[in-house]
Point group: C2
Chain length 147, copies 2
DNA sequence: CTCTATGCAAAACCTTTGCATAGAA
DNA sequence: TTCTATGCAAAGGTTTTGCATAGAG
């Protein structure tokens, strides 16, 4: 259930703030809510516009600062695709995945292949690295655009 | 042999310029030379500084314009890692590869795993996409930094 | 009360663009 | 000559920062 899920994320944020003696401001709760309801991978600017409509007093700086906060508290991760624009997506309770992107229409599909994951780890270790994360983007033309 | 290799790339550029009725300027040759000798993945700024030392009259704009030219003529490809800085690497005569990056020291290793490549293509097709390119970055801690 | 967070505007980046002039073709 | 390329500076777009004030603890 959606509501419950967002509450869980609100809790994570609360806990993070409390543990660091940071403040539970209204803005942070508002921005978290918009961020979670925005769906996938918003840019700071997109998020700013959405929030603006209801809360015109909230500025860019707070959006940026809060997105960073969400990243360090584990609720968001930052993506950078080839267009260079920073995008953020919720990641709490979300399984790891990569992205398949249509170069014509921009359509974005989340993908995950355990076999690829396994080989990535193996390859990393083969070079003496301790694996941390990875990102993989597959670019192509989607079914609709191919026609 | 290095010299021969650079000559081959110079030829590619010449050919591209000629075919589009573009001009074979001194700056383009100079920047190509520095670009090829720079080693892997330079940022526009790094390239600018290198060129500056010998040719102080060459400006940022020309660096940027030439890097774009090198990309469209197939001599360079643009990379964007998590730090968001654009980097360019020579790609003529270079086999496709991905990157393994140390999150502590920034060390960068080129990697390629045919089995991963095969699975990436398969995964793309499984979603009805016609595969074009992909990018994969593996992040971890390298042997030296682990100690 | 104390001290962090906010809002605003300015600054800091990185990259692109307009325009007059240099220089290939 | 004709036109593209260059150099410079200004403009664009995105993200960060300084500072006075608001507001949470």
């Amino acid at each position: 259930m959606k509501r419950t899920k967002n509450e869980k994320e609100a809790e994570v944020l609360e806990h993070y703030l409390t543990s660091r003696h940071l403040k539970h401001s209204k803005q942070r709760k508002i921005i978290l809510r918009f961020f979670l309801n925005a769906g996938k991978h918003v840019s700071p600017d997109e998020l700013y516009r959405m929030v603006q409509k209801e809360y015109p007093r909230i500025g860019y700086a707070t959006i940026y600062r809060t997105l960073r906060l969400l990243c360090v508290s584990g609720l968001s991760r930052e993506l950078k695709f080839q267009d260079g624009v920073a995008r953020f997506e919720p990641q709490y309770g979300t399984a790891h995945h990569d992205h398949l992107i249509c170069t014509k229409c921009g359509r974005l599909i989340e993908v995950m292949d355990p076999e690829i994951e396994r080989l990535q780890e193996k390859l990393t270790k083969a070079h003496g690295f301790y694996p941390e994360t990875h990102r993989m983007e597959l670019y192509g033309i989607c079914r609709r655009c191919k026609k």
